[in-house]
Amino acid sequence: MSLRTSISPPAVAQPPIQDAPSRHHMWQRISPYIYIGPAVVYLIIFMIIPVVQGIQLSFTKTPLVRPDGGTGVGLENYSRLLSSPQFYNSLGATILYTAATVIFAVAIGAGSALLLNQAFKGRTIVRAIITFPWAVPTVATALIFSWIFNRSDGVLNEVVGVLGVGQQGWLVDPKFGMAAVVLTSVWKVMPLVMLVVLASLQSIPSELYEATRMDGAGALETFKAVTWPHIAPTVRVVTLLMTIWSIRRFEIIYLLTGGGPVDTTNTLVVNVYRQAFSNQELGRAAAIGALGLVLSLLVTVVYFMMERRNAAKEA
């Protein structure tokens, strides 16, 4: 056996030289599909199929306890919904809740981020404290606020009592129900807005601030010329996310008011739950869900239209 033979690798391990480019070419062609494959499979199984099935379900009369025993009713669920005042009440409650929650959460969150971006003693501790509500479990948040808002023993009535205001039914009076739910939601979600905007603020190069200072710009001019253009895309994204999350928020609303008082907080998601589990009408619940999906899609479409317009303006 010659030396050459003894050190040569086995023939099978050495692909023919002329095959290498074609294998490489093939790998280049299929590798993107392999990388995105798991995500696509996940989306199909857990997103697309349930959405399609939900839409199918909305054209049937299906009881909860017989999900495979539905009968087709065409557009009846939709026509009944669209002719029902309760549906419009529910839609109105959803829009009001979402608008109020998003406006307050984004305004307070962004404002807090601007304040906490300044240098001051104890900044880290203050940041940690303000972030704390985001870490509290949602169910615990709802229970704590239900005690705070309790009419006979709640802390809030103790406080307003000192101010000379009588006992208020924060969770049982239709005048206050939505406000109480919005306040709780803002307390819970505002820290996320603050963290995201703060991260964006910290990515602004300090040279830009120095340049505006040298140009003699005041605080407001600096904000308009440097800060806002940098954080605006982040604020827009976080507003979109807050809007979609608010449209589909359930736990806080259901645990605090159950959709009351007098249906003032009966948002679409709470209504879906009522129809599906209390009334056991899966078809009608799916129809409400489908209309809620349209609402979320509308918000997303508006967002992307605004983004496109901004991009065109910048170009």
Binding site: V65, R151, D153, V172, Q280
Partner: protein
């Protein structure tokens, strides 16, 4: 010599017989020897003290049928019905379970429960009482009474004595007594559920007021939401709600805690509430509980019935049916009696003499079962919750906004009529 055809025939016959032995018909006596694990679904296993006592009581079945193993399937009350319905909808769920009659009826009506005809036909000993009619749906027995909880009026004697109040016997006296307690002691006078966050229980509680005035939600063929009797019941509730002597905003759990701690004077609630309060209270003993023979309203009141049923999709259906038969037997009822306390059971098994002597209020609660009424709406049993959702929304509107009870119930009548198509 056995030829091939004879052998195959004998083998097929043996297999058929073996198959029959493995899945017997619904015959409790035969099923008892089959054995296996029975998953028993209930929220009650989580009830402190009472759940453990119930679980211990039904272990006696394993002595009758040593090859059976009982296993708990536990879900908190608030999500129990939702989870059970979802599981059964997916052809899963526990083998045997307890469920409130308003949730039981739609399950039976949908045909997904196992019939218990053999339990009734083979029953011996103390006969099943009238409460078991709740388990009869479309002429078929799908459930037997696990327990019937009757609503009654009770109070803390110490608080009433301190406030110089005599126990009320009608709504006007109740409002007055609650106000006196508030003014004399600073404590809450009277507590009862009153808000939609507790809808699943409140709508049943609320029947106390409408039934108590002779009302019904239907006449069997059409809804009668806006009847004069129902309006009277809603107005009576409105008066006590607005009297200022009720802890508005408190949920049932908070009010029970207040009563247990001696911070609430009077309540209308079910029998198990009193038993639970006494089991965990340091401030109260049974002697401190004042009780009425009936709720201070003109007509008989409501009850909440918990039905024992068998999952039609269960793997051990026959064993489950056998277990239900045992629960209804004298032995099973005697075992459960001690654990259940002041509830009405499937048969008229009496309270243990020492328990009855120590808890004189218990018999008053049990006796109410003879004329109490179900929350199920006659003719619309499966839609009870959907109908009551509309009704209670309008009742809530009347309570918080004021106005006219008749108008509120007229609106509910229109909405329910639309709902039912």
């Amino acid at each position: 010599m056995i030829d091939r055809r004879t052998f195959l025939g004998a083998a097929a016959a043996s297999m058929l017989l073996a198959g029959c032995g493995a899945t017997p018909g619904i015959d409790p006596n035969r099923a008892a020897s089959a054995g296996g694990t029975l998953k028993f679904g209930s929220w009650q296993w989580l009830e402190p003290g009472r759940g453990e006592a119930m679980w211990k009581a039904i272990q006696a079945y394993q002595k009758v049928n040593p090859s059976a193993v009982l296993a708990q399937s536990t879900t908190p009350f608030l999500s129990f019905a939702d989870k059970l319905n979802t599981e059964l909808g997916g052809k899963g769920g526990p083998d045997v379970f307890v469920v409130q009659d308003v949730n039981f009826y739609p399950l039976a009506d949908a045909g997904i429960l196992a019939p218990l005809t053999s339990v009734i036909s083979s029953h011996k000993g103390t006969p099943f009482n009238h409460t078991n009619e709740s388990g009869l749906v479309n002429g078929v027995q799908y459930g037997i009474t696990w327990e019937r909880l009757n609503w009654n009026f009770f109070w803390n004697r110490k608080i009433l004595d301190k406030a110089g109040v005599t126990p009320p016997t009608n709504v006007a006296e109740l409002i007055s007594a609650a106000g006196q307690i508030r003014s004399a002691t600073g404590l809450d006078g009277f507590g009862v559920r009153h808000q939609m966050t507790e809808f699943d229980s409140w709508f049943m509680d609320f029947d106390v007021w409408t039934y108590g005035h002779g009302g019904s939600w239907s006449d069997g063929s059409r809804p009668t939401i806006d009847s004069a009797e129902n309006i009277a019941g809603v107005e009576a509730f409105g008066e006590i709600y607005r009297s200022g002597a009720m802890p508005i905003g408190d949920d049932a759990s908070t009010m029970r805690t207040k009563f247990r701690e001696g911070r609430l004077g009077m309540m209308i609630d079910v029998s198990s509430t009193v038993a639970g309060i006494l089991r965990s209270s340091k401030a109260l003993t049974s002697a401190d509980i004042g009780f009425a023979d009936r709720i201070p309203l003109p007509k008989p009141s409501a009850h909440q019935e918990i039905v024992l049923a068998v999952n039609g999709y269960g793997k051990n259906k026959n064993l489950a049916v056998d277990f239900v038969g045992w629960v209804g037997s004298d032995e099973g009822q005697a075992a459960l009696r001690a654990a259940m306390g002041p509830s009405t059971l499937a048969t008229d098994v009496p309270l243990a003499p020492d328990y009855a002597a120590a808890n004189p209020w218990a018999k008053a609660f049990i006796d109410l079962a003879s004329e109490s009424r179900s929350p199920l709406i006659r003719g619309y049993e499966a839609q009870t919750k959907a109908i009551m959702r509309e009704v209670m929304t309008q009742v809530e509107r009347y309570l918080v906004d004021g106005g006219d009870a008749a108008k509120a119930l007229a609106t509910a009548q229109t909405q329910v009529t639309q709902l039912l198509g």
